[in-house]
Amino acid sequence: MHNPLRSTFDDSNDPVEEAAEYFGPLSGESLPEATATTIRSGMLAALRNSARPAPAARFTFAGAAIVAPLLAVGVVGAAAGESPISGTLDAIESAASTLGIGGDSGETRQDLEVRNEAAEDFGQPGSQPGNTANAPGLVQGAVSAETPEATPEATPEAAPADAPVAAAPEDAPSDEATDPHANGKGCDDVLFGQGEPPFASPGGPVGCEVGNSADHRKNGAKNDDGETDDEEDTGDDDGATGDDPADEAEDEDDKPGGTARGLGNGHDEDRPGNGQANGHDKHDHDPNPNGNGPDKGDGGDDSGDATSEGEEDSGGPGKSAEKKPDNPGGGKKN
């Protein structure tokens, strides 16, 4: 038998048996009964305290107690012919006023109305319904009949959105003041004259439904064919504009080197910097079938020449990139 008081092991014995004898006296150690009683009472107290309802259940009950009356008020309001939402809102407002923590939501609604009115009065010429870039907060339905008055340049072209671009100048009056496209230069000139910045919005001047800057610049481009422009102007205005100094000035402006020429490099060259808007390739249509611009699409005998020449020689806008160095103005090449 191993004597634990020797504090050593006997090498001759099995170390496991020796260790069992050495540590065996510890097996008689037990928790004192007094301590066990204390622990027992503490455990019972902990078990009783933990028997409370869970917090989630309490929150669920509180939430139901708040929401249920509101729903009841809404149902009553709906039965009385009012909107359930308005009934609920009124109930919430009254409850908040009673508690002194809420404001009047009518003020909020008034602010919203004022904001809508301000959006309608947005004075930017050519503001289009739904163009949020020009008039943030202005929606399609919020625009009233006052919009045409505010945007006189856009009203003549207030045609259906799918109307042909080339047909717009013919359908519109020939008056330059009302139809920017009929002046032979495009509406951007009119808009620039009113102080609008060029390229105010992507795709063309603000307010024009043609929507493509290339169209604006091509419809009035006389390029280097002054006779064609003159004849067209004469035809549109019954020859009266031939003696008009304003038309002469416009003719001067339409010569190659002017604004129209510089921007009429062909629609297939939709590269940044050439004045073309991106989109003709994507629209699957040729806005300038005659090679002279949209305002000459159906006009006169000259359109046939322009079309045939543009197609055969590929010198017209949007036909060939190889011809552009020789014909930077697009359209007819002389």
Partner: protein
């Protein structure tokens, strides 16, 4: 060979309970059934107490830690997941961690004031002294193996180790004890830290 205590037999029976009965007990504990918790305490109180005493080697501290273990078990029974091990293993794990916390705290206090160690004068005190020369894991294995008289496999189950790891820990613990006790006997120094 030392005699196996009555509690040790009960603990072994508890460990060998069928899974269905253990599951029913666990459900009752999760429902915070007082009878189930009382039975659990009565079955494992001495086991937890001795395991704690083997670690801290202080009876009063072991009693306090034993109470903390069962209170912590009540709070944590919802998070307890049965992994094929008896619930005694969970209680022993709690006891081990709480004992280590107490040892760290006592170590900090001893760093401030160094009390004079008292020489062991009884067999249990000498055994506790010898346990103090071992690591925490070695103490755990020695306690279950030679105090609670469990087999290698049962110790492996209770400690979450493999039987080989238990054997290795036991072997190194006995070698360490032999070397230290032999050195102490040679120098005549019977006082231990």
């Amino acid at each position: 060979m030392h005699e196996t205590s009555e509690f040790s037999n009960r603990a072994i029976l508890t460990t060998a309970r069928p899974a269905r009965e253990a599951g029913a007990t666990l459900e009752a504990l999760r429902r915070r059934d007082v009878i189930a918790w009382t039975a659990l305490f009565e079955d494992h109180r001495d086991l937890v107490y001795r395991a704690t005493l083997s670690q801290v080697r202080d009876r009063e501290l072991a009693e306090d830690i034993t109470g903390q273990v069962f209170l912590e078990a009540i709070e944590g029974i919802r998070r307890y997941r049965e992994r094929g091990r008896p619930i005694a293993a969970w209680l022993l794990a709690i006891a081990k961690f709480r004992s280590l916390d107490a040892l760290r705290k006592r170590q900090r206090e001893r760093n401030a004031v160094l009390p004079a160690p008292e020489p062991a004068s009884s067999a249990p005190a000498m055994a506790l002294d010898a346990l103090g020369r071992l690591t925490h894991d070695q103490r755990e294995v020695i306690h279950l193996r030679f105090v609670e008289d469990h087999s290698i496999e049962t110790v492996a189950t209770l400690t979450g180790r493999t039987p080989g790891a238990v054997k290795s820990l036991q072997h190194r613990a006995l070698q360490n004890l032999r070397a230290q006790l032999t050195t102490a006997n040679t120098t005549g120094d019977t006082s231990h830290a």
